[in-house]
């Protein structure tokens, strides 16, 4: 007779105007966030773990991501062919993602197959049986992924170099989530099992279900399926502290068609109110074709083919980034000078009501667009719960953006852009000779 976990209901949370998140805390530490949406006979089941690459040790980068791969393969009690086969045959899809602060797994399934997802995910948390051969094979797959997404990818390369510059190679946000090549090669089965046993525990796990299901049935299935999991595991360390900011310029050479420029400034955690101000600033500078930097660099000056701005959604210290893809014959100095001019304009004058409203509207549209599907809703809830502690944090941010005044934003702009940025220039290989000649000039 299988045992069953006890659980207690926490206060439900509204999720926008149409949905509500029912919350349940299980005795072993597991948290379940359940959202009923009966518009279509499907469910999205997601397991969010508060473990990411920031939980790795120096020299062990890539462990969290490699483990995510391995957790699709040999799990005791899973049918032959692993999770992909059963989920695909049930008409669903499954995948996972790892980043600095989290790892998550999901199954999108017909509503009648919810129990299957609960069974699979609960076994994933305690059934890994790892062979040396399987590990070596999966390391080859991850090295292939690394080549595709980092070594042979210009944006991937610059991101990796920039983050190492910003945080330092020994800072938990400074090493790449996919891992340094030499670290991936050196990972042993013992490393994987140790990481798995330490971090994959109920109190680090949030189960999110969105779709067409009955809450009582889901709770009863979860209570049975997760009952073998004892309340073990260590408390997670708090997010890392901000590194000492050391602005500098670095130039790297790669086989690229045109120069790229990346700039970064230190930014606050996603939970800070200033983060919302910077979301609006990011929209104003690079959020669309009429944004200040896109319009000037791409359309008016015709010195770039693309401009993007990013604000990283980290639980700990974050970065505000500007990426410019220059035209082959454009000058990096000219682009830098212009960006500086735009930033000064931002610091000198508060945003106009019209520009601010335009940025708010665009953020709002993008937020709602991400909620079109059940998996989109589940991902929003899971990410916010795992990284900010508030499953409805997306709505909090949208509201903060609506309430932010031009003067508050100006204040944040002054705080952030008072730091000189990190500058990373990526130049085509052919430019190396000219660059060296310039440097050796007296």
């Amino acid at each position: 007779m299988p045992t069953s976990l006890r659980f207690r209901a926490l206060d439900p949370l509204p999720f926008g105007t149409r949905l509500s998140i029912a919350r349940f805390a299980f005795e072993n530490g597991l948290l379940a966030l359940l959202v009923q949406d009966h518009r279509a006979p499907i469910v999205s089941y997601q397991a969010w773990f508060k473990v990411g690459s920031r939980d790795e040790a120096v020299g062990k980068s890539g462990q969290a991501h490699l483990l995510e791969h391995l957790l699709f393969l040999d799990i005791l009690g899973w049918p032959d062919g692993g999770i992909d086969r059963v989920v695909e045959e049930a008409g669903g899809n499954t995948n996972a993602a790892t980043w600095v602060d989290f790892t998550h797994f999901y199954e999108n399934l017909p509503a009648s197959k919810l129990e299957l997802a609960i069974q699979l995910e609960s076994k994933r948390m305690h059934g890994l049986c790892l062979s040396e051969e399987r590990l070596e094979n999966e390391k080859r797959v991850v090295l292939s992924e690394r080549k595709e997404q980092v070594d042979d990818d210009i944006e991937g390369t610059t991101q990796e170099v920039l983050h190492a510059m910003a945080f330092g190679r020994r800072h938990p946000y400074g090493w790449p989530t996919i891992g340094w090549k030499k670290d991936i090669i050196a990972i042993t089965p013992e490393d994987c099992m140790h990481f798995y046993r330490t971090h994959y525990c109920p109190k680090r796990c949030i189960v999110v279900i969105v779709g067409d299901f009955e809450i009582e049935t889901a709770l009863s299935e979860i209570a049975k399926a997760y009952s073998p999991l004892a309340p073990r595991g260590i408390e997670r360390l708090p997010p890392p502290s901000p590194p000492r900011w050391r602005p500098r310029r670095r130039t790297i050479f790669r086989p690229a068609a045109s120069p790229k420029l990346m700039l970064a400034w230190p930014a606050p955690s996603i939970t800070s109110p200033y983060h919302s101000h910077l979301l609006l600033v990011s929209e104003v500078l690079g959020g669309g074709r009429s944004s200040r930097l896109f319009r000037s660099l791409v359309e008016d000056m015709e010195v770039a083919t693309d401009v993007q701005t990013h604000l990283l959604p980290f639980e700990g210290p974050s970065l505000f980034e500007i990426w410019v893809d220059l035209r082959p014959d454009s000058s990096i100095e000219e682009v830098l000078e212009h960006i500086q001019k735009e930033l000064s304009r931002l610091e000198d004058r508060p945003l106009s009501y019209e520009e601010l409203q335009s940025a708010r509207n665009r953020l709002e549209l993008r937020f709602f667009e991400s909620l079109r599907t059940r998996s989109g809703i589940a991902e929003e809830i899971g990410f916010c719960a795992a990284v900010t502690g508030d499953p409805a944090y997306g709505f909090v941010q949208i509201e903060r953006c609506r309430q932010s005044t031009p003067w508050e934003i100006l204040d944040t702009v002054k705080r952030v852009f008072r730091f000189p940025p990190l500058e990373l220039c990526l130049l085509p290989l052919e430019a190396r000779k000219a660059h060296n000649a310039t440097r050796s000039c007296p």
Binding site: N93, V141, K147, D152, S290, V298, P328, N361, R362, F368
Partner: protein, 446 residues
């Protein structure tokens, strides 16, 4: 889903769903890059992207007049509304996707009306867009998958319009003039029938009102445009794109694919799912799971109003490239000669039928099969019941479709994007005993 016809002759599809306070709109035109005149590759792309580069003053049939807007004013107006517009160009269709927060739907429609009925098509903006497109092509030299795709399209489709690069080449763009673009707009875009799909927080009545207020009369039939079936490839063609200093290759193995609405369409969809369209398919199992040679390993079946392409895409490292090519060719030979097995058929059918609900999850997705059918000149419900069509298929149906679609040794095209010294590239190619072409990347966009 409601299908309606506005007074001005524009058909509408409306899927009302007020769960989110946003509305998605798709304006579809049944023309695409295959319409490019030879030598002017990229003309359709430039023409449809010029639509958002400023508008002339426009007096819509029922709404208030709109002043002329420069390109910047137009973009700023769109973004101020909390809206986005994306122009998507395919070989035989154009889709203009717009999304907007509900309260701003009406002003968005005024802008969409002006965009399609009265684009400025100014000479200065034309030069700016042409230069930007050329600069973009240059920056794509970084993208191995893009270059590999240009190469396989060229070899697979040869002198068919599908072989031409949709965004043109540096030389075709350089010789393009604004008067040619204006003539193309008048002849094809302005004269084209169009369909408008609405998904989200909108009623059918509101949708009809918006269309009648903002758009003029449209014809129901396009001028005839003859698009022949692409000829089958003649034996194995090998194209190598020589990229400097890469860590791994991009390997494309391609053949002609499917034709939408043809009797073989759904059997080939099932066949592709079993071969390389699922994580548990043959290709993924052999290349990724058993060998660990490539993180990505998928096959894609493309379909259009004539046969499109079937594409297998993997990224093996250079150290195992030869072995990986051999493995993939063995898998294809076995697939084409013996077909798929009963358990593979069951798995693929179950997956495709059960996953259908996910392809109809949002209001916008529910419109798609009707919109696609209209754009490809098929009966309205031709693509709306895939689950029923797939459920009916037997092993014999699928394997017969495979055998009549493909013959090993005759229909293949292999494109490898890789780096390395020339003798090594040639050595890999010689193993395939096919006609060999080696491209320097720039020659593919020149």
């Amino acid at each position: 889903m409601k299908a309606l016809l506005a007074e001005n002759g524009i058909p509408l599809l409306v899927e009302s769903d007020d769960f989110l306070p946003i509305v998605d709109v798709v304006i579809g035109l049944p023309l695409g890059s295959a319409w490019d005149p030879p030598g002017l590759e990229g003309l359709t792309a430039l023409s449809v992207h010029m639509l958002r580069r400023g508008t002339s003053a426009y007096k819509p049939p029922k709404g208030p007049p709109l002043p002329a807007l420069s390109s910047q004013e137009f973009e700023a107006s769109i973004e101020r509304l909390g809206a986005s517009i994306e122009v998507e160009l395919q070989r035989t269709s154009v889709r203009i996707h717009a999304s907007v927060i509900r309260p701003n739907l009406a002003p968005l429609f005024s802008l969409l009306g002006a965009m399609l009925e009265a684009p400025a098509l100014g000479a200065q903006e034309f030069l700016r867009l042409r230069n930007q497109t050329m600069a973009h092509l240059e920056s794509e030299l970084d993208d191995d998958a893009f270059l590999g795709t240009l190469a396989w399209q060229k070899h697979l489709f040869r002198d068919h319009p599908f072989a031409r690069p949709s965004y043109g080449t540096l030389s075709s763009l350089a010789q393009m003039r604004v008067d040619q673009l204006r003539a193309f707009f008048e002849e094809w875009i302005k004269a084209s029938p169009m369909i408008v799909g609405f998904g989200g927080a909108i009623s059918p009545e509101e949708a009809v009102e918006l269309i009648e207020a903002n758009f003029g009369v449209r014809k129901s039939k396009n001028r005839p445009f003859v698009l022949s079936e692409p000829p089958p490839p003649k034996g194995i063609q090998v194209a190598i794109v020589h990229q400097a200093q890469r860590e791994q290759s991009q390997l494309f193995v391609t053949a002609l694919g499917a034709k939408l609405g043809a009797p073989s369409f759904y059997p080939l969809v099932v066949a592709n799912a079993a071969f390389g369209g699922m994580y548990t398919s043959r290709l993924v199992r052999h290349v990724r799971e058993l060998k660990g040679w490539s993180y990505s390993a998928m096959s894609h079946l493309y379909a259009d109003r004539v046969r499109d392409a079937w594409v297998i895409h993997t990224h093996p490292p250079l150290s195992v490239l030869g072995k990986c090519i051999k493995l993939e060719l063995d898998l294809i030979q076995e697939f084409w000669s013996d077909g798929i097995k009963e358990d593979e058929l069951d798995g693929a059918k179950r997956h495709l039928i059960h996953s259908h609900a996910f392809r109809r999850e949002s209001a916008f997705q529910r419109l798609s099969p009707y919109l696609e059918a209209w754009l490809h000149e098929l009966p309205g419900d031709a693509l709306s019941q895939p689950s029923e069509e797939i459920a009916r298929l037997t092993l014999q149906d699928v394997n017969q479709a495979i055998q009549s679609a493909w013959a090993f040794g005759h229909d293949l095209c292999v494109v490898i994007s890789m780096s390395g010294p020339a003798p090594r590239l040639e050595k890999e190619a010689q193993r395939l005993s096919g006609a060999l072409t080696i491209y320097e990347p720039r020659t593919l966009i020149r």
